[in-house]
Symmetry: C2
Subunit: 385 residues, 2 copies
Amino acid sequence: MTARVYLDWNATTPLRPEARAAMAAAWDLAGNPSSVHAEGREARRLVEAARAATAAAVGALPRNVVFTSSGTEANALALAPGLRNGARGPVGRLLISAIEHASVLAGGRFAPGAVSKITVTKSGVIDLDDLRRHLVSGPPALVSIMAANNETGALQPVREAAGIVHEAGGLLHVDAIQAFGKIPFNISAIGADLATLSAHKIGGPKGVGALVVAEGLGALVPLLRGGGQELGRRAGTENVAGIAGFGAAVEAAIVARDAEAARIGLLRSRLERGLRQSEGLTLFSEEVARLPNTTLFTAPGLKAETAVIGFDLEGIAVSSGSACSSGKVQPSHVLQAMGFAAQMAQGAVRLSLGWSTSEADIDCCLEAWRKLSGALLRGERRNTA
Amino acid sequence: MTARVYLDWNATTPLRPEARAAMAAAWDLAGNPSSVHAEGREARRLVEAARAATAAAVGALPRNVVFTSSGTEANALALAPGLRNGARGPVGRLLISAIEHASVLAGGRFAPGAVSKITVTKSGVIDLDDLRRHLVSGPPALVSIMAANNETGALQPVREAAGIVHEAGGLLHVDAIQAFGKIPFNISAIGADLATLSAHKIGGPKGVGALVVAEGLGALVPLLRGGGQELGRRAGTENVAGIAGFGAAVEAAIVARDAEAARIGLLRSRLERGLRQSEGLTLFSEEVARLPNTTLFTAPGLKAETAVIGFDLEGIAVSSGSACSSGKVQPSHVLQAMGFAAQMAQGAVRLSLGWSTSEADIDCCLEAWRKLSGALLRGERRNTA
């Protein structure tokens, strides 16, 4: 693969050099972090340093960070009936927004009948009035809202939601996977009770996530039981190298965050200026605050599946939305929740940028789009007439 | 840490060079295996190559290998009510041996009242007559027996157990974590319905495991839901580098297995000859077939906690049994199940060897033991008179 342009950072990011270095160093430690000998203590030290870095980055205490094998696992660990925080809870039902990630849509350990969806506006932002309506009556709810949507980049009013949810005696879980490292995210400032992070969206390795909980949250309900790892909240020998890589990526991402966001934001503007030259092009959620790195667009006649393949043949990696759904291109549940017809929801292409994206990458992408768009918008398939 | 001697391979192993190389190569692949573009397909290829290698190593089909984040997760995925295989099952209760790993003792998703324990002999081998007695009446059982015990190394009669369990309409799960890579293990030859593997016991990375199922086994009950990864059996973006490292470690371990076992067996004999010079020393399970790399011993007056610290101060990493129990030295549940008194079960030290263990390591260990044993057997603590 020479001269490829990677514009699928919301699916997964290239590794940061800091993460590589931390993981390579971890490889030299033979020990199991649960072992009492020096080799074990060295491994334990790496895990705890990563925990401290992660906690500091989101305004939490280290003891309130639980490392998991993915954001999916962290979401599954979070979404359990019975959670409480002081006088709030125990939660007996789950409210989620209609644009959550598949791992939240799955509902965790709530019975399907105990899960309800909050609507979103045409701009892809959760409707707080609908949230309030859901909370008027019924048992205390666990509410799960993402900080930023993975497909549109639209920021969600999680801080306002926290106030509304707490007033109703419920708890708020925030899936911060896409927001973390791109914009400020602080669990205490938001007032969230639980938050999910993932390493491979910020330049860390695939296969590491974290659930962060607010001080005072009662016992989690473990998914994995056995050894006493993670203070009894998540059994299993720790992915020491991966966790060390996560910690290093967190530190690098936080230090670089604001400068990277500004630079990437300018590149995204360049990208969107170029795209807008196509007639009838729609940029989803452009009228609301978005992550600086995400563009989701469609145009009349565009089919996402064909477009993704077309871009790929031109050397450019793009996505049709979430990559976490078995590799198949399906109509976006996010755009459908925003009120767009299935046809349009099947035609959206996502371009997402990151720390190594260059101006040349953007220009390559626009050139490919100009080359492809004529045929794509007529609904033609390459090589199949 | 200079001139350390690592004799705690049953807790976790140093990485094999082949695993390091495979992981470093995987780091250069930015893609998410669920993405359709070239970067995604490259990542997918690595995961599937590791799956094929793992499947071939245990006599399974690639589609019957589910990668997880640990042996603990694989055990939790395996131990679910309702499993069936053809006419056998659905299982409604769980039978486990009394010497299983903590992640099996936790019982998976069976209610505590649906879990019973099979006794073991004084030599640490499961009592097949007790297994038969448990199977005489009651609903079809899922039976979980480890292939080799992690503390004593004692091999378990899993092949005979498979016949007994199947005749009673039940299913057999084999936790093969300690056996795999050290002695032949083939799920088809044994007739097991499910088997658990772990990467970090064979020279792969910490944080990767696998559940292997027999062809014909019905649907697993997923623990992690959301994306369609692992054919819908385990959601979450794959730990691509870790899985690649696992695959490389599997291939290296299988190729080297018999030669390594022979060499390590000779080293273990040297070790045990030296230990036997201490008066009253007990070598657990020495009268039955054991893994070639494991020695568990005690002597009158020995306290495991003090011994582990004493060895550590002499530069030698040893264990008091399973390392997977929160770093605390507790009486061994394995030795208690074998009928030894709590005092003896609190005094056992485990020495476990691996592919980089040398004759010099063994001699260092014996020298340390000679130096320490006088004080240790009088029950003295170093530096505390």
